[in-house]
Amino acid sequence: MAPAVGLIGWFVYGFVLWTLYISFTNSKILPKYELWGVGQYVKLWGSRKWLIAVDNLLIFTALFLIFCVVIGIILAIFLDQKIRAEGVLRTIYLYPMALSFIVTGTAWKWILNPTLGIQKMFIDWGFENFTFDWLVNREMAIYTIVIAGVWQSAGFVMALFLAGLRSVEDEIVKAAKIDGANLFTVYWKILLPMMRPVFFTSFVILVHISIKSYDLIVALTQGGPGISTTMPALYMTQTAFHKSQVGLSAASAMMMFMAVAAVIIPYLYSELRRENAR
């Protein structure tokens, strides 16, 4: 026990506090320890790149959440209908979770590249004016990250909802059917409202994945074209390790930390309360 608490205390909490402290200093390449006030935060929120990163994060999070949850629920409900080959289908929907974002990002980068990828496929099929250049288009590149991200994580939401649906007692569904409810009503009015905790869990996990998303962007766009697909996690590492602005990057890391904490702490608190109630 002691080793676990000690290691986490030092390497998680101690380190976060260190980062917090550094974010209030004027550290460049090497950390300096005299306090400098909130200058780094002022600089951060005045930086165009950071604002683009936050903007991208909001777009990505919203779309990522919506698509993952909708696809996940559809797949879970459909798979719940005594489907033949359910095991095989489930395996297919979930396998992206076993792969790294670098592996899948490499694949998507190849699929989405305009010269030899999907665009060429459609042109060769006779759609001569077909264009699909999102990957190299400043305005659209962020949506390619959504496509790859949803592809990777939708199966996870499916697994959560399938587990949730399977834990509902058959009696409830049977009783509703005897009362004349059709399948649609059963799901819409009875089962989905019962899945509130699963919605909540999916929301927390997906938001937290999207705030932390880093690998996928590195593999797919490196934040480009230009800086159009920068996200906070990428901003932080670039500022720290390429631009050597340690203080500024610490400030951006703390912003990320607070965003995650704002979502996670209420979640952990409610989970703990639920467990205590049992």
Partner: protein, 300 residues
């Protein structure tokens, strides 16, 4: 009268049979479409890796390769055999193995111990300690990268496999503790109490009573940790470069280094090589993988 209702009932039954059949077809149709969408990138990866660059330029993403041509796999794994600038995955694959095995072992062991204490040697405030550890699952690692880089430097293990083992062990503990704690909570404490009365010590109880029944959760934990650590890119790319890099970092460098002509077939073969260990584990032990995934999310 009697007859009429009977026939209309039959009609109704017939009709609902048709709608039912239509619904079933619709169901399978949607499920298969999604299956194709999920399979598509993997299919493209595999066929592209088996083509020559000439075939790639002439066909489309979906075109079947002309034959089983593993040349790009050999290049991805072992290089082209000329000196400078010839990057290939083999040494990095071994780096990853050397990193994963000890990191999985240590994090699993420490997590098992912590889970054991939290459930069987309960103390005042243990819930808070659990919460304290659990929060570590979620912190954005950006908030610890800078001090970690300094610490590894001070310890003299920056840019080394040992450094990465330390990092992955430490940040794996919250997950492994969560798994074991949730597993041990469901094991009756009476046995432990009885053993304690008989004078069995802390370690003896763990090894004689809990460990023998822990196989499923050990499997879940090992698979989870293996997948996470093998797939990690953030720590690997921050704390190592050059020769000490793990495979994901090497893959990314290979794909990004566009010195001459882009060889997509080699890129795809490299991506498959980097992904195959976790994919095999997933196919063989999917049940345990999913259990890890869902219990990583649904606590208690």
């Amino acid at each position: 009268m009697q007859d009429k209702t009977h026939s209309s009932y039959k009609q109704l039954e017939q009709k609902s049979k048709y709608t039912n059949m239509f619904l079933r077809w619709f169901l399978y149709f949607v499920l298969v479409i999604f299956a194709l969408y999920f399979i598509f990138p993997l299919y493209v990866m595999v066929v592209t890796s088996l083509k020559t660059m000439e075939e790639i330029r002439q066909g489309t993403l979906l075109t079947w390769p002309s034959g089983l041509n593993f040349d790009s796999w050999l290049v991805a794994w072992g290089g082209r055999g000329y000196g400078a600038g010839d990057t290939f995955l083999k040494p990095y694959f071994w780096n990853s193995i050397k990193m994963v095995v000890p990191a999985v072992f240590f994090s699993t062991f420490i997590g098992a111990m912590a889970g054991y204490v939290l459930t069987k040697w309960r103390f005042k405030g243990d819930k808070w300690v659990f919460l304290f550890l659990l929060f570590g699952c979620f912190i954005p690692y950006q908030a610890i990268l800078l001090p970690m880089a300094r610490t590894l430097g001070v310890l003299g293990i920056s840019n080394s496999v040992i450094g990465l083992v330390l990092v992955h062990t430490v940040y794996g503990i919250p997950f492994t503790t969560l798994f074991f704690r949730n597993f041990y909570v469901s094991i009756p404490s009476e046995l432990v109490k009885a053993a304690r009365i008989d004078g069995a010590g802390f370690f003896k109880i763990f090894f004689k009573i809990l460990l023998p029944v822990s196989t499923p959760i050990i499997v879940v934990t090992i698979i989870w940790q293996f997948t996470q650590i093998w797939n990690d890119f953030l720590f690997g790319s921050t704390f190592s470069f050059g020769e000490a890099a793990p495979i994901q970092v090497a893959l990314n460098n290979m794909v990004l280094s566009s010195t001459s002509v882009k060889e997509y077939n080699v890129d795809m073969a490299s991506a498959i090589i980097a992904g195959i260990p976790t994919l095999i584990v997933y196919v063989l032990a999917g049940k345990y993988f999913i259990r890890g995934l869902t219990s990583g999310a649904v606590k208690g």
